[in-house]
């Protein structure tokens, strides 16, 4: 099976010395792609800058104008976490376009697996605000494009941080299902299990908060018991993965204990969620330990492509197993409360 990746585009201009979100991350990601030794099964979709029309499906026009103007004026710190440089606006538009081009190529081929190795990452970016290293919400821009074609999109976010931007953008959208596993408590503070979607999209947001130290077995059980039934009932036609690798045990930004083997298992699972080939795309989000990032991406893509690969042993035995049932019950209760409130409104 072919792997479709985005074409090369220099992101070296988006760098703040000493900041963990740095160009070397994409170098590590591309090294993982090279490790796959795919030969002619590696397909490169040309680099492309997303148009304003594609961006405003997700972002507020004034925000885009402000961000562009800020970068052209030389950039600086947007908040204590998030920076932009003179080149960041151009680079961010190419990062957003990368997902769109990879999807276009998958649609043309009707086959393959997509991987978008572009930065800055996106899942914290809100409709009208940059935050958490993110300027434009790449995965949301891709999901919105698919939505405009009548598709039903599952965004599965396994970055260690909750993708508050993606959740906010599709909060009330019934044709996008947002599923997130993340450490909690942790930045950005959102992602409670009782956040279930807006009034027009009840049960279209599934949050699985995991305690520090949680391992892959806990994550898999929680996904299986809480998210899997919702995904089955949603019947996605595309799966976009916000593939952050900062839940790896070696990553300095958080405290989950996953291994590359866990990412391989998650990746295998993802490919079972949609019917037909050519409908799964992985978007690089976080992941700041370059060695862990490379090995985790290699494990993820190998599994998605059905290639044999010896990844690290999947992790187990961490805390959180005893919380899964309680999380599930709390979520069900939030859904029932919503339905019951709506019934009351209808009968009044």
């Amino acid at each position: 099976m072919a792997l479709v990746i985005n074409g090369p585009y220099s992101d070296s201009g988006h760098e703040d010395e000493g900041h963990p979100e740095r160009p070397q991350r994409v170098v590590a990601a591309m090294a993982a792609v090279a490790d796959l030794r795919l030969g002619s099964d590696l397909v490169v979709a040309p680099s492309y800058s997303a148009s304003r029309a594609e961006l405003v499906r997700v972002h507020n026009g004034n925000y885009l104008d402000e961000l562009g103007a800020f970068c052209y004026a030389g950039g600086g710190n947007i908040d204590p976490d998030t920076y932009a440089t003179l080149d960041s606006w151009t680079i961010a538009q190419y990062a957003a376009g990368a997902g769109l081009k990879v999807i276009e190529e998958l649609q043309r081929r009707k086959d393959g697996v997509g991987f978008v190795a572009a930065r800055p990452p996106g899942h914290h970016a809100l409709a009208d605000r940059a935050m958490g290293f993110c300027l434009l919400n790449n995965v949301a821009i891709a999901a919105a494009a698919l939505l405009s074609q009548g598709e039903r999109v599952l965004v599965l976010d396994w970055d260690v941080h909750h993708g508050n931007g993606t959740q906010q953008i599709f909060w009330d959208e019934p044709n996008v299902l947002y599923v997130s596993t993340h450490q909690w408590p942790l930045f950005p503070g959102s992602g409670s299990v009782i956040e279930i979607g807006g009034r027009h999209a009840t049960d279209r947001t599934v949050n699985i908060p995991l305690p520090p130290g949680a391992t892959g077995d806990v994550m898999r059980r929680a996904i299986d018991e809480i998210a899997h039934p919702v995904i089955d009932s949603f019947k996605p036609t595309w799966v976009l993965v916000s593939a952050g690798f900062d839940a790896h045990r070696d990553d300095p930004m958080a405290d989950l204990r996953l291994t590359s083997g866990d990412f391989a298992m998650m990746s295998e699972f993802v490919t079972t969620l949609v019917e037909g080939p050519g409908r799964v795309v992985f978007f690089l989000e976080g992941g700041y330990d370059l060695r862990a990032l490379r090995s985790s991406i290699l494990a993820t893509l190998s599994a998605a492509l059905g290639q044999a690969h010896e990844a690290e042993t999947p992790s187990n035995g961490g805390p959180g197993n005893d919380q899964v049932e309680r999380l599930h019950a709390a979520r069900q209760s939030a859904i029932e409360t919503r339905w019951s409130a709506e019934d009351t409104e209808t009968t009044q």
């Binding site: 963990p20 800020f70 710190n77 204590p80 935050m131 958490g132 941080h161 508050n164 930045f187 950005p188």
Partner: protein, 142 residues
């Protein structure tokens, strides 16, 4: 209009946020209100912790003493998120603030920068009154 009962004020260690805390303590003192000083823990703070959630930073303790502020009405809260989202959450339980207070410019911001301005974002999205304290504010106690 009801006087203040519960004031939440953002603090990031910058001079402007210190001025905001001063204003909040003064206003709360006069209204017999409680004050929650809240620090938003960003992504990068996982790498280098700045504030303990269990202990009011000494500079704030000293401010509270300067105003002779009753410590039982003072709460220190360190919570995950960007400053804007964290402050907006203060209007809900458990803090249930009726007023948000912010400095005019936070940590690391460039003068005149609109993008990323916590005070503007908070003012735009808040459901309760917001006080933006100018960096030139002087209350006579300084």
């Amino acid at each position: 209009m009801k006087p203040f009962q519960s004031i939440a004020v953002g603090y990031d260690g910058s001079p402007d946020s210190t001025i905001a805390v001063r204003w909040a303590l003064r206003a709360a003192q006069e209204a017999d209100a409680s004050v929650t000083i809240v620090h938003a823990t960003g992504l990068l703070e996982h790498l280098r912790t700045r504030y303990s959630p269990d202990e009011l930073p000494p500079e704030l303790l000293s401010l509270a003493q300067q105003y002779d502020f009753d410590e039982s009405r003072l709460r220190w809260l360190v919570t995950n998120g960007d400053a804007c989202s964290v402050l907006l959450r203060m209007a809900s339980a458990p803090v249930n603030a009726d007023t948000l207070v912010v400095g005019s410019r936070g940590d690391g911001k460039r003068e005149g920068l609109l993008l990323g301005s916590t005070s503007l974002e908070v003012a735009e999205h808040a459901t309760i009154p917001v006080v933006v304290v100018p960096s030139t504010y002087k209350d006579g106690a300084a």
